[in-house]
Amino acid sequence: MGQSKSQFSEEELQDYEDLTYFTKKEVLYAHQKFKALAPEKVGHNKNAKLPMSKILQYPELGVNPFGDRICKVFSSSHDGDCTFEDFLDMMSVFSDAAPKAVKAEHAFRIFDFDGDDMIGTSDLQQVVDRLIGSNHLSEAEMQHLIQKILEEADLDDDGALSFAEFEHIIDKSSDFASAFRIRL
């Protein structure tokens, strides 16, 4: 703890505390976790940029079917490589204290594979594919499933979910906030 403390100035810690949902201690703890991913690199430069493969060694992200998407959404260079600040941002959004709306915002971006600001049928298909892993749904089943999701969520019938529609669905789910959470 003492070592990582020396890597940050008080001002930086204050900044992090103001800009994330963490306290200073949690920020330091997050840095420990970050450092554990690549001790040498981070020991050298506290805000080193780690490649996505390193970030995915974090256990919760590694087994997550959307691990690479998460990295990409939070990476400031949009290629999945994360600096400590990106990592901290990620952990703060996944923490208990982050409000549901912020979580929904990021979940939307994670599910929006093609980045067109709408979750369309192709996005939905990818989400389902990743969720069921090695199992397989037949084409008809997949179509039916997507149809059903759109029926439920697509309020204005334009064949894709806008953010407002997505948030509406998330708002109605009591389990989202508890599921979309990673303990630091």
């Binding site: 900044d15 992090y16 505390e17 103001d18 800009l19 994330t20 949902y21 306290t23 201690k25 949690e26 256990p59 087994v63 997550n64 400031s76 949009h78 600040e85 990106d86 941002d89 996944f94 409000p99 709306a101 912020v102 915002e105 990021h106 093609d114 980045g115 067109d116 600001d117 989400v127 389902v128 969720l131 892993g133 199992n135 749904l137 089943e141 039916h144 499933l145 059903k148 999701i149 439920e152 969520a153 309020l155 204005d156 019938d157 334009d158 806008s162 407002a164 669905i169 998330i170 708002d171 109605k172 789910s173 009591s174 389990d175 508890s178 599921a179 979309f180 959470r181 990673i182 303990r183």
Partner: protein, 815 residues
């Protein structure tokens, strides 16, 4: 509000969509722009609706601001943490700002992006004030902004720079400055408290480990466990400080008042009053013998006051009574609040959400806290099977269940319920008989009876849930969750019946005993102790045996699963016993805390070592709410029972209340020194008259009726709004179609502004109209003729919608 302008922008997004086939490709669009449109959509929608339905304005605006989550705190008019002000509605600034804080465009550097956002934010006066509120607002707006932390830091630096500059230009007054600094300090204290709490977060790593292995479902049990543990710890502290320690002081020290100069150092140790029973190991399990006359039980406490400092007196009876009352009231408040919160969150707010099975499964299906390969695989396969089930359910055409079968099911369920009621009644009666029999025969040495009864109750508690599980399998409930809830409820009833019978019996016996309060304390003590052996130790041993059979001998048995419902009910039972017993034995809190502490480690190790995760997904929030409701109910029952005891059961000749016939007289006689003619007494009497009570009940009924009517009306509004949304979408789609048709015909360039297009369109439209009219009138034999009628219809509709657009189009003419 310049509605027309916005309206046009609103339509501009899909029009590009039609015009530009490459729409959606990263290379070809500017996400920033689109994000802005998205946010504007919400704003526009708010405007449109508020124009249509002026009555619903506030609630609707609220909604639309919540949906612009990026800056929800700035826009939000009510609810949640930041409701300290109303925001003036200057759309222009906001639009710009929203526009800037969308996605990062890849071409620009982070610095540029941050600068842009900062410039936009600086335009907002509300944010840039030098006051605590806008400081908080700034912080929240920044924190909730979907930007990377690096960008946020730059923005923050820029903003604080410009705020400082502003302050220098226009310094704030002394009073305001004082207010500002104090509130800043307060929020600093708050964060430091938070970080203090964080460093003491109990069993953090265990929780993380369990979550990693089993997901958040099992973790809810452990979190509930931890919550109970912390609450009991607090109760223990209060009880120790206010009741037990004064009593110990009273017993062991006395103040010699003769040398009254030095108040603190003249405590003398009293000669020990001999405890005439010798300590035996078995006393640990029965709570009798040696323990009977210790601070563990009610009977031992004195009815006198402790003389702590020569002139100050500390009355043990008052302390005893009021500490207990405080603890019950405090836990009642805590439980009812958390129940209400949880209920609101998981049932009321998400009421319409229950229909969205598929969307929930897909969007909320993955449990992000899962951290091991094994758990992830289980999660994947369970998600797969659940999706499959949902699909096959939806493929099936809803079969009409024949009337006879429906009737059969109803009768079956009815019979099963009757059987269960009889079983419960039978168990209660048997217990009563058993208690009667034993006390009649062996009224002298009661220690062995107590143990036997505790064991019997625990065995019943172990076996009956199995029987209920067996019964519910034949009841043919449509949904497995219904079956789970029914079994839970029955098990809960069983526990209520058992504890109720037990308590009722001993209360009935109260007149026959020397000190019935201590006796009840002892019985509860034994129950709690044996519950530990049965529900924690025995269950763990069974799990371990099952697991070793599974790994070494026979795979068919299957690894033991972690049964969240059963374990949570056990926890609840333990807590209920504690609540019943606490009044008669303040040190029970210590016993329960030790018990819970041990059980945590046993449970955790067993779970991690032997159990396999629950293979079905667990609706954590809702079941959690159910458990909270059950705990609340049991606490309520306990409080009612204790109220009855205090008011209507004669107290015995031991313990702190031995001077009073009924315990409640302590308050009346002691505190208020009330007599019949006191004004306060008369007012109290007046309010407890049946007429007054009836009046109050009536008033409450009226309020409930009013609230209910309001809720129904709100629901109606939601339906109307939803219909309007669909209609709007249809309108939009239709307009787009006609637009694109016209645009195709005149080959407009891709990124043409809508309003110029509008002008072109009107020209073309009038030309076309002429053409069609001419065409219709003149050469009927042409090839266009077949499609004419349809197209004319469509074009007429287009004309209408264009008219609609025209009304809104020129921003300056409007209003």
């Amino acid at each position: 509000m310049e509605m027309g302008d916005i309206q046009l922008r609103r339509y501009s997004r899909p029009i590009f969509n039609v015009d530009n086939p490459n729409y959606g490709n990263q290379s070809n669009y500017n996400p920033k722009n689109k994000r802005a449109t998205r946010n504007q959509d919400n704003l526009v929608y708010g405007d449109v609706v508020t124009d249509f339905v002026p009555d619903i304005q506030p609630s609707y605006l609220n909604y639309c601001h919540r949906t612009t989550s990026v800056h929800r705190n700035v826009f939000k008019l009510g609810d949640e943490p930041c409701n300290f002000r109303n925001v003036p509605f200057s759309l222009e600034h906001r639009k710009k700002w929203l526009f800037c804080s969308g996605y990062n465009t890849q071409k620009r550097s982070l610095q540029e992006c941050a600068d842009d956002i900062a410039t936009c934010m600086e335009l907002d006066d509300v944010l840039m004030n030098n006051s605590h509120e806008s400081e908080l607002l700034r912080r929240e707006a920044l924190r909730d902004m979907p930007q990377s932390l690096t960008v946020k830091r730059i923005i923050k630096k820029n903003l604080s720079f410009s705020v400082n500059k502003r302050t220098k230009e226009k310094p704030i007054g002394f009073f305001k400055g004082l207010q500002y600094t104090t509130s800043m300090k307060l929020s600093k204290v708050h964060t430091s408290l938070k970080s203090f709490a964080y460093s003491f977060e109990l069993w953090y790593s265990s929780l993380k480990e369990i979550e990693g292995h089993f997901g958040s479902g099992v973790a809810t049990y452990f979190k509930y466990f931890r919550w109970m543990f912390i609450m009991n710890c607090l109760i223990m502290l209060v009880a120790l400080v206010f009741v037990v320690i004064p009593q110990l002081l009273y017993e062991n020290f006395e103040v010699t008042t003769s040398t009254s100069k030095n108040l603190w150092f003249n405590w003398n140790i009293k000669p020990k009053t001999k405890n005439n029973a010798t300590f035996q190991i078995s006393d640990l399990f029965t709570g009798e013998g040696y323990f009977e006359d210790t601070v563990l039980f009610y009977g031992h406490y004195t009815n006198e006051s402790v003389n702590l400092i020569s002139t100050q007196w500390y009355s043990v009876p008052y302390a005893y009574f009021f500490t207990s009352v405080f603890i019950y009231v405090a836990s009642f408040i805590v439980f009812s609040l958390s129940m209400a919160k949880s209920y609101r969150r998981s049932f009321i707010e998400t009421q319409d959400g229950l229909k969205n099975n598929f969307a929930h499964k897909v969007f909320c299906g993955w449990d992000y806290s899962v951290a091991t390969e094994k758990a992830a695989n289980i999660k994947v396969s369970s998600l797969y099977t659940e999706l499959k089930e949902l699909l096959s359910e939806s493929f099936q055409i809803v079969k009409h269940v024949p009337f006879l079968q429906q009737f059969y099911t109803v009768v079956l369920q009815f019979v099963c319920n009757v059987i269960v009621i009889f079983l419960l009644g039978g168990v209660g009666y048997m217990l009563w008989l058993l208690l009667n029999e034993n006390t009649a025969h062996l009224s002298q040495s009661s220690s062995s009876i107590g143990v036997i009864i505790a064991v019997v109750i625990n065995i019943i508690m172990l076996l009956f849930p199995l029987v209920f599980g067996f019964i519910v399998r034949y009841e043919d409930y449509k949904h497995p969750r219904a079956a789970l809830y029914v079994t839970l409820l029955r098990t809960f009833l069983l526990k209520v019946v058992l504890v109720g019978t037990f308590l009722g019996f001993w209360l009935k016996q109260s007149t026959k005993q020397k000190c019935w309060e201590t006796a009840i304390g002892q019985h509860i003590f034994r129950l709690i102790l044996f519950d530990f052996f049965f529900s924690i130790v025995l269950t763990s041993v069974v799990e371990a045996v099952c697991y070793s059979i599974y790994t070494k001998l026979w795979r068919g048995i299957g690894a033991p699963t972690f049964d969240i419902a059963r374990y949570t009910l056990q926890l609840l039972y333990n807590q209920t016993l504690f609540w019943v017993g606490f009044y008669f034995s303040p040190l029970l809190a210590v016993v329960v805390v030790i018990k819970l502490w041990l059980s945590w480690y046993i449970r955790r190790t067993c779970t991690l070592k032997f159990c396999k995760p629950y293979s079905k997904s667990w609706k954590a929030a809702q079941t959690q709410t159910l458990f909270l409701i059950l705990s609340f109910l049991s606490l309520l029952l306990v409080i009612i029972t204790l109220g009855y005891i205090v008011v209507d059961v004669k107290s015995s000749a031991c313990g702190p209340m031995r001077n009073y016939t009924y315990m409640y007289e302590l308050i009346l006689k002691g505190i208020f020194q009330l007599e019949q003619h006191n004004v306060f007494w008369r007012i109290l009497m007046y309010f407890t008259k049946p007429g007054a009570v009836a009046l109050m009940l009536l008033a409450m009924c009226v309020v409930v009726y009013y609230l209910r009517a309001k809720a129904i009306a709100q629901k109606g509004i939601v339906d109307i709004l939803r219909d309007m949304l669909v209609l709007e979408a249809k309108d939009k789609e239709f307009l787009l179609r006609t637009f694109s048709k016209v645009a195709d015909q005149c080959n407009l360039p891709n990124e043409h502004k809508v309003y110029t297009m509008y002008e072109n369109v009107t020209d073309i439209w009038s030309a076309e109209k002429c053409h069609y009219r001419n065409g219709n009138g003149n050469d009927c034999g042409s090839s266009t003729e077949t499609s004419t009628t349809a197209e004319v219809d469509e074009l007429q509709a287009t004309e209408q919608s264009l008219q609609l657009l025209k009304e809104n189009k020129p921003p300056k003419k409007h209003r």
